[in-house]
């Protein structure tokens, strides 16, 4: 688990490093997705025996790819504009709220006490963000 923690922290930090070093976002993302595709391709080739791709999987995969790339571009742009890595990273991790809200609204899942507390803290976080932290040197 410690490797996972360090890896996730390193990936988030690499986004900020790419913006501080003024990397071309498209080239940086190209490198990221190329290695991701190679790794996922190797896993696919070694573990999957059913090569049938239903249309729904194509649609979901292609749509998710486009949405995920757009999300990363927005995140990189936010960091490029001088956004705080600590806060921007937390905001993006808050994306956990979306499938929870979707599941409660459309899949009929129950809103547990933990979820209510988590969402309430999210609202508090939004209120605290409304008067954002002191701008960093890059922003000023």
């Amino acid at each position: 688990m410690s490797i996972t923690i360090l890896a996730f922290a390193a990936v988030s930090t690499s986004y900020k490093v790419s913006q501080v070093r003024k990397c071309e976002s498209w080239v940086f993302l190209g490198g990221l997705y190329t290695l991701g595709a190679l790794s996922a391709g190797i896993t696919f080739a070694s573990q999957v025996h059913n090569l049938h791709f239903p249309v729904s999987i194509w649609v979901m995969g292609l749509g998710s790819g486009a949405l995920g790339l757009s999300s990363l571009l927005c995140f990189l742009r936010a960091l490029k504009m001088g956004g705080s890595l600590s806060l921007a990273n937390i905001i993006v991790q808050m994306s956990l709220c979306v499938p929870i809200i979707y599941a409660v609204c459309f899949l009929g899942e129950k809103l547990t006490v933990m979820r209510v507390v988590g969402l309430a803290l999210f609202v508090v976080f939004l209120v605290l963000l409304n008067e954002p932290a002191k701008p960093s040197k890059e922003e000023s």
Binding site: T4, V27, I90, M94, S95
Partner: protein
């Protein structure tokens, strides 16, 4: 509200929709789904880099490739750490919470980001919120 916060929230919403789509994904197609995501991202990224005539520097590609490799290793180890007898409700909060804490520390120490007391409260409340949501 700063413009970068708006963009970060847009990133959150877009990423959230991807997570919602994954929630609807039949389990037997997980390994079909991931390569498609990466291939689409790769094609669009390289297509845009070429179409917009961006200079392709090895250092920029290398940093992205390293991030991609580390991301894969992280996800692979996450899947292994979720194997029984571990529980997702324990693993996810620890992984999300600790990695965000490390990123916050790196931001302050490494990138010299200055946070007001209100900003520090936002970091603490935000991490707590993600930890609780990932547990549920």
């Amino acid at each position: 509200m700063s413009r970068w916060i708006g963009l970060a929230f847009l990133a959150m919403l877009l990423n959230g929709v991807v997570l919602a789509i994954q929630k609807c994904l039949p389990a037997q197609y997980t390994n079909h789904f991931l390569p498609l995501i990466y291939v689409v991202g790769g094609i669009v990224s390289w297509g845009a880099a070429v179409a917009l005539k961006r200079p392709i520097r090895l250092a920029h590609f290398g940093l992205g490739a390293a991030a991609g490799l580390v991301s894969y290793v992280g996800n692979y180890c996450l899947i292994r750490s979720l194997a029984p007898p571990s529980k997702a409700s324990v693993v996810f909060p620890i992984v999300f919470g600790t990695s965000m804490l490390i990123v916050a520390l790196v931001s302050v120490v490494g990138f010299k980001e200055r946070l007001t007391p209100r900003g520090i409260c936002a970091v603490i409340v935000g991490i707590a919120s993600v930890v609780i949501l990932s547990q549920s």
